[in-house]
Structures are given as C-alpha cells and as structure tokens.
Subunit: 456 residues, 2 copies
Amino acid sequence: MSSPAVAYARENHPRFLNELKDLLRIPSISTLPENKADCRRAAEFLLAELTHIGFEHAKLLETEGNPLVYADWLHADGKPIALFYGHYDVQPTDPEDEWLSPPFEPTERDGNLYGRGTCDDKGQVWAQIKALESLMAANGKLPINVRVLLEGEEEVGGEGIEAFVASKPPELKSDFALVSDTELFAPGLPTLCVGLRGMIYTELEVRGAKTDLHSGMYGGAAPNPFVAIAQIVAKLKDEDGHILIPGFYDGIIPPSPEELAAWSSLPFDEEHYRLTEVGSRTLVGEAGYSVLQRTWARPTLDVHGIPGGFIGAGAKTVIPAKATAKVSMRLVPGMTPAKTFALYKDYVEKIAPAGVDIEVRLIHSGDPCLVRVDNPYIQAATTALREVWGQETVFIRSGGSIPIVGDFDRNLGIPSVMMGFGLPDDNIHAPNEKFHLKNFELGIESIVRFLEEAGK
Amino acid sequence: MSSPAVAYARENHPRFLNELKDLLRIPSISTLPENKADCRRAAEFLLAELTHIGFEHAKLLETEGNPLVYADWLHADGKPIALFYGHYDVQPTDPEDEWLSPPFEPTERDGNLYGRGTCDDKGQVWAQIKALESLMAANGKLPINVRVLLEGEEEVGGEGIEAFVASKPPELKSDFALVSDTELFAPGLPTLCVGLRGMIYTELEVRGAKTDLHSGMYGGAAPNPFVAIAQIVAKLKDEDGHILIPGFYDGIIPPSPEELAAWSSLPFDEEHYRLTEVGSRTLVGEAGYSVLQRTWARPTLDVHGIPGGFIGAGAKTVIPAKATAKVSMRLVPGMTPAKTFALYKDYVEKIAPAGVDIEVRLIHSGDPCLVRVDNPYIQAATTALREVWGQETVFIRSGGSIPIVGDFDRNLGIPSVMMGFGLPDDNIHAPNEKFHLKNFELGIESIVRFLEEAGK
C-alpha cells in the first residue's frame, strides 16, 4: 500500500541520519557519574525534538537519577493509545582501545553506523521519533494516539522509570507499548520478541574467621569462604547445567509445540553460533534442549564475580574473613522471583558447609513475561513488518530481561510490542557497537506502517 | 649471668623503639609495584644502620626485584659464623578501613606497637640489629662471627634471595642461620620453631567464551568460568577438609610419638583458639587430628582469591571470558613441591568441566623442613631463652612456610635456629598487625644472650 509518510521518510533519510549522529555524539553513559550532565543533555535533545515534530506536553520528569522524557499527541479520537518506550543512556566504552573508530564519533563503514548507542538504544529511539515525524509531516496527524516515554537509566537498573510506572500516573494510560530495544533474529528477517526471561540477582556472602588469617598458620583449622562458596556453587548446578535446587523447575510452563516447531525452523546453526558469538571450546547447558530452548525457555544460573580475598598479581596467602558470590538466575514462565529466591535461600542455608555463616541477599529481580501473539497490536505489527521487509515475521523470545515490559504489564495492564531492529552481532555492551543503516531505514518505515495498521 | 650488652640494650630501649618506628613508616609493600621505591628505601635504611653499628662490607645486592642487604663482622677468630636472616618487605594493608590506626604510622596501644610490619618482620629484624649493636657497643666486639642477610621479597616468593643462596656465594659461608620470623607459642613462653610446612602457590585460570557475554542472552549456552572453578575446587577438597587429589598424601612422614606427646602437653585449648584467634562458628579440617597436628603436620589447601568478572557494588550480569583461582597447598615432610604440583595439575586437567580451557600455573613454592633439636646452636639458644624468659623452651612447628630455611639447608648445608618473638594473635598479614613491646625488648636480650652462649 502506498504511504505518504513512508515516502517522506525515504526523502528525508539523509537528514534523519545526520540528526541521529548528533544525538550519538553526546556521551550519555549512565554508569559513570562524570557523564551525568551528558545524560541530561541527551534528554534535552530528545525533548526539543519531540516538541519540534509537533508533540505536546513535552517535559522532563525528574527522578532520583537521570530524567525521563515525556511527550504525547492525543488527537486521534476513538483510536488506541500507544506508549513508545526507549532509552537514551548508553553503556561505558571500555576497553577503549578495541574501538576501530571513536565510540562517540559515529562513523559509517560497510553499510553500518558505528558508535556507542547506535543500536542500544539511540538508533532505535531515533527510528521511533522519525517515524512519528514522518506521519505528522505527511498527514498533519497520527493514525493513533501516541505517548513517548524515554528513560536514561536502562543500563543501571532503571529504578526511576520503575518507580514512575509503579505510581500508575494518568499520563501513561495506554492500550499497548511499543518497546524498541530488541533485535532481528537474522539480517533481513522481521522479528517480534514475544517472551523474556525473568531474573533474580543475588549475593551469597560467606563469613568464616572474624578476620583475615594467614593460610600457613591457620590452614587446616580456619574455614575458607572461597572453598565454602565453591562447595555451595558446585551443589547449585551440576556439570550438565542442571540446577540442583529442589523444586527449582516445578511449575515451569514449557513453550507450546507450535512455538518449538517455529524455533526449529529459524535460521540458526549452533556450531556457527559457537564459533562466532561465544567462541568457547564447546557450548554448555542442559542435555536434551537446543541452544534456543536453553537460552530462551529454560532457567539458568550464573556466577558473575566472587569478590573478596586477594585479587592482585602474584601471591598473598590470606584466608579471608569473608567472600561473596554474585549469583543470578534467569527465570521462565511459571516461575516467580519470590518463590525461586526462597527455594534458593533455603537450599543454600541447608548445604552451607560447617564453620561458615552465610547470608543470602536479593539484589534485584524481574518477572518472566510472555506476550500473546493473538493480540491485535501484534497482528498489526506482523502485517506492517511483512510489507516492509517482504518476509513473514518470526516470533522469538529473548533470554535477557527487559524489566519495563513486566512493569507495563503489571502496573499499566498493557501488552508490549517488542519490535526492534538490532542484529545479533551489533556488539551492544561491547567495543564497535553498530547499527545496520538499512535497519535504521526500514525500522522507521516499519514503525510508520505499524501505526497506520494499528489505526485501521 | 650478668651481660653488659643486655644492660646496654635495656638502657637504650626507648631509642631502639623510636628507630624501629622510623623503619615501619616506610611502606615497603613488595606486592605492589607502586611501592617499589619504598622497598629500596627500607633496604637503604637497614644498610646505613648496619654500617653505623660497626658492620663491614655493607652493600645492597641487586636482584631481579628488591635488593638484598648484606653486611658482616668476622673478627671472632675460631668462633662459628652465624647468618642472620630477616625481611624488610611487608604485606599489603587492605582492607584499609579495618585498621584502628594507620598501618604506616606505628602506634603504641596497650603494651603493643601497632602497624604493618611491626611483627612480620621489621620488628624482629630490628631486634636482631639492636642485639648486634648492644654487643658491639658494650664489648667492642661480637662473641661470634655474624653475617646479616636481609631480603625484600619474602611476601612475594623470595626469588631474589633464593637465586642468590642457590649460587652458594662465599660471603654466605656460615655455621648456622638465625631466622627471626616466627613466634612464641604463647605469651611469655620461649619457643624455638623446628619444623615448617612447605607450599605451592598456584593460579588456576579458566577461560570460557572469547569475550565477556551477557548472562541473559547467553546463559544456558556459554560456559561460566566461575562455575567451572567452583566445580573444580569442590573436587579438590571435601567438606571434611580431606584433599581429594589422588596420591596427595602418599609418602608423608608423620611426627614422632615423642613430638606428638610434647605437643599435647603444650598450653593449647582448641575452644579458646577458636574464639580468640579464628572466631569462626566451628573449626574445620580433617577428622582424627588435633588442631596442632592439622596446622603443623598435615597438608592443607586454601583458595585466596578468585579474580575476574564483576566485583563492584550492585549487579552486572556478565559471564566473564575468564576467571582465575589463586590456590595454595601447604606441604609437610615427605612431600615435595614438584611432585605435589604435578599431581594437582594432572588432576585439575582431568576434572575440568566441558566447555572451558584451563591453565594451571605454579607461582612459587617452598620445601617443608625439619630441624634436629640436638644441634649445638639449638642447645645454645635453649640456654639463652631459659635465662631471659625464666622458663623452659618449647619446640614447636609452624604451619607457615619459610622457604629460606630449606634453601639454607640445601644450598649452604646449615641448620636454622628459628627464634622468633611474635605472638599468635599479632595479626600478621591482616589489619591491626602488632608486636608486643615486651617481646621486642626480651627478643633483643634473647639474641644477645644466644650469641654469648654460642660463643662459649
């Protein structure tokens, strides 16, 4: 179907790209205190742009951390309200010396735009805004009502937006969310993410002696917290990736046979994935499940760090008084953070070896989430994507957690359309992050067409 | 018996203590590259003092690392030659915030001198030098010949002195060594240490993915180096403290029945030790062995740190590409570092879980050692200690390793008199290290009298 807004987007694409580069030049790293002012600059940049394209009520909403950006256009009477979500903060850039071009000087190479935030998530936020501009400019109005809510703390836990959404403010009343922070399953393959794993992130603190001791003098009598952690962790997960916490797997809702069949027809080669993405000697995980099942639909347990003791170069023969393991678990539908944490805590307390005291703390958590593919917004998105990309949309899940999707569901009662345009090798959170230029272009057109379909 | 040198030591004690404080203010932490110049400063401080008290041939002997300090006084014709050994380097001070007074600002409290290095080993080195000064100043000469050899890398493996001693240089030709780096068994109880455990200090590096990965995306497929380390460590030592490396205990020479009987008559209460020294919920270790047996005469295994991944506050969901466990083992007579390391390495390579590559590195090692108590220098020391402390000397072992004692034995063919004046609760290698002021004083007198006895 012919769309004046799509035509406008195509005509104006070079300008859209230049504007995106300006946004990318702002080093809005939310992890680093020294970039706090840059985060605000990025928010103000977006605020000005939303006003410029004709949005109303544009404002910064202050939080304990970086501000939220809000604006709306609510003149499509009788039509649904979409809540656009994205984030303007970015990851740090270390290791800096692995970047082939400076992280905050966006650079085009081989059909990609390189720079920190190109894909995660400024490029996708800009695709949203430029889709809205195209519709407004071409038609003088939008086909549905739209609220935009952008955050600046996605990379540091998103507490500000979580608190705001939990307060159920009237200005977030919507019918669905458009979350633009995911990726295509493969180049050129239109993709909607319809499932996310939940998580619990914990600290397991193990205390032995009252003070650090010398392993020569006390080795053989004083408990060693690292050895205790090792003994506990070895009882949490066996060498086949099976988690040993009693009751851990109880109640899990497996993917439907249709979903499993769809996954097995996706263009995915485990050996290619091992070589290009993981690079380990072998892949690991539970026997009897494919990689996609293991990373999308099975719960997992990982250890992220074991601070304590001596971590410098060389040798120090300390038996530390305490050590802490940072342990997280990814949860799938049928599991809840509260129940999983309780099972884990009880089990760890039971298996802790003699001589040590342990404390198990929940640092943060998020529910797993599944979107029903028969909701009308998913259907409208599917139609739009088919047309723009010339292929049937695939429904995938993600092993990661996007807590805001659960927050929208729980607090606003709305489903999310997770339509994103990154690629698996876009190096988000790593050096040489990129965004495929064609995906930026088709992303804008996809959002334009999605709103047009949703307005029908 | 009346000793002019002891009288001199008593008169000059306040000055001795002030000089020691100056030495202690030099932060000669050998583990930290940024303190390299401080190590040299400490060496130069000692060099100047040895010259000042009348020693000759005083010089710094350069090594790959921190210099050795050498000086001698060899004018007691026909008398034996003693080789004084101690070290001027100290442990790091972390965790810094647990110190009640600054680690490098020596502070007197409750009859103790607090500060890093007070007991281990600058206070003991200074007791040696002040004993020599007292003898020289009171008598114009020493009762026997003395060479002094001080090192600055005891806390980082002592490779420099090891290489120097292994070269069997003529300037180390001696009849026995006086090693001042041990402790009294109990306050006021004169003690000679006649056995040391050996050790191997290793790094176990585990590599999984080629780069750090996100546990949401890759959890369930990518190997986790921390989990692998936990699984390996849990197979190194069981929860009863028994080490599971095949062949590990083969060939161990147990203490004699007489030695065991002497140990059981020492003033030692396991519950008091647990409460005052260790402070843990229970003591740990092999069933069927007393604490003294477990820490002096049984091999043990400890983990000192597991660097890698995320160790900051809060949460980061990284599956790190690699992690490293610092693992050491203490060895007893009948075991050798080479054989033990080979057994350990073979076993770890065999039990490493799928998906990871491992590398096992030996960082440093030392042989276990036993001294015969019927040698004449041990007898002279016993006489001197009885007189100064008013009690019979006890013969103990130490669970720690003083590799130099084995080096002196092997390369110079001389026994060591390990006469030290620390206390079990002196917090060496920990915050709030201290040296009992009375022990500093009686330590000087003990060394004075020991040399006088050895010269008879």
